[in-house]
């Protein structure tokens, strides 16, 4: 499913077709990459007037085969002949402008008829390929319009919407407690988090207190979910980079966690365990023992993963110094979660604005230094270790008491009361048929999801159905920084970086 822009025939002439061409291109690419890194310093003197002639019009200059000053035509030859640096530097300064113009011309092209289009002089070396929406490395149905120069990524345009399911709209059509299942299916690897964000927002509107035991049970399941999500991330990312066996190890532990979910709620995924006012049910007998066994086992498993990956030379070379963006830039884009923490910013909503009793637990925030892909990997491994610690503390200190609020306007009455109490029967009937009425207002409830700040905005008009449900999904926000992460790098690193962003298309498109 790739579509190539055919080269201008005149361009093919001077390029040698044997190995020297490949070598020249490679040298060229590397030069271009280093040039890209210094771009910040270079942009300042871009106005010096050394811009190529193409700038004047933006129209294709088909006839002008030898631009001379810019040296684009002779690039591969010039690079091998040693005259590359000056010519390339001049071109590097112009990449932003060039890419912009190329994009503009590209936007006007209908891809089905573009085969006859002739590249302009400057753009002859550029090639736009389409990745996705069906591609094994895009982690879902993401489409990436990628402009390449050789192996170097010059621009990338993510196209989303292939998994748009209309969940937010569907939630408006359901009673508050019936919207939980659809909301859970947004970010399908973080279903407990979706439910927690939504229920938290509704509980804020209702001004409802959640029993301590329910809060602890929520924390346990949220952290299990975080480990599960990171495990899937670890397996699929390593798979993209070429380490296949880690997938089986990661999915082995994932199955253990899903067994726990199934044991406590009856479903492997989309459990609807967290609900407004508490959790669906108390944990069954024997669950805590199973959980403790898992918690004691998991650190050793993490050691195994690290033994497999952290000293693997291929893995390290693919991960280190790739896809790095400064913390300031990430914050400008609104990126949160492991990506931001990998760049050294210790921003974690569990610490910053503790919810659901997170302030009861002792845990640390793993942070990275450079924000490259390796740091993203290390931060997520560290987070799994911290999650294990939180679960351990929560299950050890699990308080006794109810798991659901006693407010009969919100929670269903216990089953046995239905046979004896008329009032309980009325409450039950009203809740099941109409649902709870929520006072008018708006609330936004942010929590720390596995991918970053996952916030749910709920607006109530006083009826039993939400007037608006909106999710601030971290995958969507984080994907914005993707272009900055991959521009100027190799296309192979682009794949690794996309995997390390860990975008969930279900969360992006909703």
């Amino acid at each position: 499913m790739t579509e190539e822009r055919p080269k201008d025939e005149e361009r093919d002439g001077p390029v040698p077709e044997d190995g020297s061409a490949a070598a020249a291109t490679r040298e060229h690419d590397m030069d271009a990459t280093t040039g890209e890194r210094e771009r910040g310093a270079r942009i300042a003197d871009e106005t010096s007037g050394t811009t190529p002639q193409g700038d004047t019009s933006g129209q294709p200059n088909e006839g002008d085969a030898h631009p001379g000053t810019t040296g684009t035509g002779q690039d591969p030859e010039a690079a091998s002949g040693g005259g590359a640096p000056t010519a390339l530097k001049e071109r590097d300064e112009d990449w932003e402008e060039l890419t912009k113009r190329y994009r503009a011309s590209e936007a006007s092209i209908d891809f089905s008829t573009q085969l006859g289009a002739v590249a302009t002089q400057d753009e002859a070396e550029l090639l736009t390929i389409n990745m996705g929406p069906h591609h094994p490395a895009t982690h879902g149905v993401l489409r990436l319009l990628t402009t390449l120069e050789g192996e170097v990524v010059r621009d990338v345009k993510p196209i989303i919407g292939y998994l748009h399911t209309g969940i937010e709209k569907t939630a408006e059509d359901k009673a508050y407690w019936k919207a939980i299942p659809v909301v859970e299916r947004m970010d399908y690897l973080a279903y407990y988090f979706n439910a927690q964000a939504y229920c938290g927002a509704v509980e804020d509107l209702l001004d409802l207190d959640v029993p301590k035991r329910a809060q602890y049970l929520r924390v346990i399941h949220l952290e299990l979910n975080r480990i599960m999500s990171h495990l899937v991330w670890l397996g699929t990312t390593a798979l993209d980079i070429g380490a296949m066996s880690i997938l089986w190890y990661a999915f082995r532990e994932r199955e253990t966690i899903l067994d726990l979910f199934e044991y406590s709620s009856g479903q492997r995924m989309h459990t609807r365990f967290i609900q407004i006012g508490g959790v669906a049910d108390d944990i069954p007998a024997g669950w805590a023992d199973k959980l403790l066994r898992f918690v004691e086992e998991m650190p050793r498993r993490l050691d195994q993963y690290e033994a497999m990956l952290s000293k693997n030379e291929i893995f390290l070379q693919r991960m280190k110094d790739t896809g790095a963006v400064s913390a300031e830039k990430l914050q400008e884009w609104g990126v949160t979660g492991p990506l931001l923490r990998a760049a050294g910013v210790p921003w974690d909503l569990r610490k910053a604005t503790p919810y659901s009793s997170y302030d009861d637990f002792d845990f640390k925030i793993p942070v990275g230094t450079t924000g490259d892909n390796y740091d993203r990997y290390a931060v997520r491994i560290g987070e799994m270790r911290e999650s294990v610690k939180i679960i351990h503390q929560a299950i050890e200190g699990l308080p006794e008491g109810p798991v659901m609020t006693g407010d009969r306007k919100v929670a269903l009455p216990p089953r046995h009361e239905l046979a004896t109490s008329m009032e309980a029967l009325i409450h039950h009937f009203k809740l099941v048929t109409e649902g709870m009425r929520v006072p008018e207002g708006e609330s936004y409830y942010p929590i720390e999801g596995p991918r970053g700040e996952l916030g749910c905005f709920v607006r109530s008009d006083g009826s039993s159905k939400p007037a608006r449900v909106h999710m601030r999904d971290p995958s969507f926000i984080n994907l914005q920084a993707y272009g900055d992460m991959v521009r100027g790098g190799y296309i192979a690193d682009m794949i690794a970086t996309l995997a390390c962003i860990d975008p969930l298309l279900g969360g992006i498109d909703r």
Binding site: P136, G140, G506
Partner: protein
């Protein structure tokens, strides 16, 4: 698969569960082993050779043999849409281990895949893409709609989702939201049985689409005329059958 054996079937191991091997069975088994060795050495001649060949050769039809092989090596496409895709990945995990049924080789390109598993919700924007991927697959090709969304829109009964049956033929529907990996294995086994029993019993029967096979005619692919003639023949036959029933 129906197996036709010439002569008496092997003695050992065919007695069914719980049967004890007698001394005579064991001796006969040993004798057959020795005969097989002699056959390989080229020392077996005459009636002995005839008998050995009769005992050890299985005859079947090429169609049956090929559909047996086909059913045991279904290559699924690496194609995930939403939640179900995660459960689909866990098929290759150590617990389900789909390689037991010959389907562990997930292919990244539709050209190499036999089976497309629609793992997740298909949106209006994605449906043409899915259809195109399905069209790119080579015959014989099969489709499984995994989960409620791909089968019937599931919990999302809204403007954005479209069930798979609306735009492409589906062989097996797997219920669940998402289905357990066990369910998916069961679905794949159902498909295997479908393929091995009778390949024509797949979607073409269900959607009355006979005559649309991509078969090679004389000197290449069938021409449009040939296809039309064939479709007309099928329609005529069906009409006659319907008449006969009425």
């Amino acid at each position: 698969m129906e197996v036709i054996r010439n002569g008496k079937a092997g003695v050992a191991g065919t007695g069914g569960a719980g049967t004890q091997l007698t001394q005579a069975d064991k001796e006969s088994f040993r004798a057959r082993q020795l005969r097989a060795r002699d056959l390989l050495r080229g020392e077996l001649e005459g009636d002995d050779l005839e008998q050995q060949v009769r005992d050890s050769i299985v005859t079947t039809t090429l169609d049956k043999a090929s559909s047996w092989a086909q059913g045991n090596s279904i290559f699924p496409l690496t194609f995930g849409l939403a939640c179900c895709s995660i459960e689909m990945i866990s098929l290759v995990g150590s617990r389900m281990d789909i390689s037991r049924f010959g389907s562990e080789a997930l292919r990244g390109t539709p050209r190499q895949a036999d089976l497309i598993i629609l793992a997740g919700r298909v949106s209006m924007k994605m449906a043409p893409v899915v259809r195109r991927i399905y069209d790119q697959m080579l015959e014989p090709k099969y489709a499984i709609a995994m989960g409620a969304c791909a089968s019937s829109m599931g919990v999302f009964n809204n403007y954005a989702v479209v069930p798979a049956d609306k735009f492409m033929p589906v062989d097996v529907h797997i219920p669940g939201c998402p289905p357990r990996p066990e369910s998916v294995v069961y679905g794949i086994l159902k498909l295997r049985k479908m393929i091995q029993d009778d390949p024509t019993m797949a979607w073409r029967d269900r959607y009355r689409a006979h005559g649309t096979e991509e078969t090679r005619g004389q000197g290449g692919f069938m021409s449009l005329d040939e296809l039309e003639t064939r479709a007309a023949q099928v329609a005529e036959r069906e009409a006659q059958e319907a008449q006969a029933r009425a």
